[in-house]
Symmetry: C2
Subunit: 230 residues, 2 copies
């Protein structure tokens, strides 16, 4: 059995859980609070970040990009049309471009600052940076999310899914990051109907259900967060 | 013929040039100053970042990770022992882990802040953030480089190259980032002999030569930068 070290509101962990859910790979989940810098976890991943996938007889696989590539090599070829990184070369380029867009650019500009200010700083001791959220960082992230929402709408004007004519890693990464921002109440869905309709389709997939049921103590999501008809 | 949109001191561009050099892929180079946000470049890569690889009859390939995966799919299987992402599954995991370490973690903690403060801000108009370097950011990056150098030394205590018993993408990414920091005079090579000896081996490879000869106007590297016996 595989084990995934994750944190419930870590968007990269959510992306990997969605991918494994779509592939139907059974999984043990182990919650890791990276700010505690637990020795056993740092041995698994010296970078000290979630997610980390531990598979029998392989080194630990760390980070959303390396895990996505590994899963594609291990499971992809047998999955045919359900493969989340399509075998066509041009499609692989577009999926990887958008995977990188959300896991790096959206993360830096939106999900990471919001999580850091609103969640992680609440649990961190003050001597390593814990404390109240800083308003300029929150304001910048909330402005950035609108630009990314427009970009999603632009992509969806030409396609049913964001990178191809079917579900790919790119949709799962985008939805994973947005789901965390949505948990924090910061996605202005009213501003883009195409993005809202696409997210509603993803939210109703069985792979999404376990994520929507999880609550982080002390951080309550808005009522619409787990509502399929938001 | 392929075209690479790059910037001479962009470490991710350098990584791709080294990989293409090792594979012997001929290449047209086009210099791109990303801070100018040229429309034609934003059409190629909406993220507005170098490197971007343009190949005949394919969409533009953006970013060091997606380019590395594409090159492996296009050229890797025929290269056998010269493949920079080895075909063994455990080795691929370790190479991708370290590729991500340098292209993301080292970049955030060392090469990006040094480049931003010492180079990009010099060329950027003040209204978009140009100006004199900020000392706290420089000090933090210079402290971080020592920790990464120790980590390199730790990896090299068990192996000839950092991810495997032969040259891989991981060595090229690490060397690309360090070469930029070295151009700025900020690598304390004296502190780790194993890391210095490994970098000397990389520096003497033919793929490295074109990089060492390039000078960015107004930013002069220290004398040891291009010296193979530093």
């Amino acid at each position: 059995m595989s084990t995934l070290y994750h944190y419930p509101l870590c968007p990269h962990s959510r992306f990997v859980r969605l991918a494994l859910g779509e592939y139907g790979v059974p999984l043990d989940l182990a919650e890791e609070r990276v700010w505690e810098r637990r020795h056993g976890f740092l041995v698994l991943n010296p970078a000290g970040e979630t997610p980390v996938l531990v598979e029998p007889e392989l080194p630990a696989i760390a980070g959303p990009g390396p895990i996505a590539e590994y899963l594609d090599e291990a499971h992809g070829p047998a999955l045919d049309e359900r493969r989340l990184l399509p075998s066509d070369r041009a499609a692989r380029i577009e999926v990887r471009r958008l995977l990188d867009w959300f896991n790096r650019k959206f993360y830096e500009e939106v999900s990471q600052p919001l999580l850091h200010e609103k969640v992680y700083k609440r649990f961190m001791p003050t001597e390593i940076g814990g404390g109240a959220p800083e308003m300029p960082a929150l304001r910048a992230a909330k402005a950035n999310v609108r630009y990314h929402l427009r970009y999603l709408g632009h992509l969806l004007a030409h396609r049913n899914w964001i990178a191809a004519d079917r579900l790919t890693y790119a949709d799962l990464a985008a939805a994973a990051h947005l789901s965390v921002v949505d948990y924090l109440g910061d996605v202005p869905w009213d501003e883009n109907e195409a993005a809202r309709a696409w997210y509603a389709r993803l939210k109703s997939r069985p792979s999404f259900r376990p994520l929507l049921g999880e609550i982080v103590r002390g951080v309550t999501p808005p009522p619409a967060y787990a509502d399929l008809d938001f």
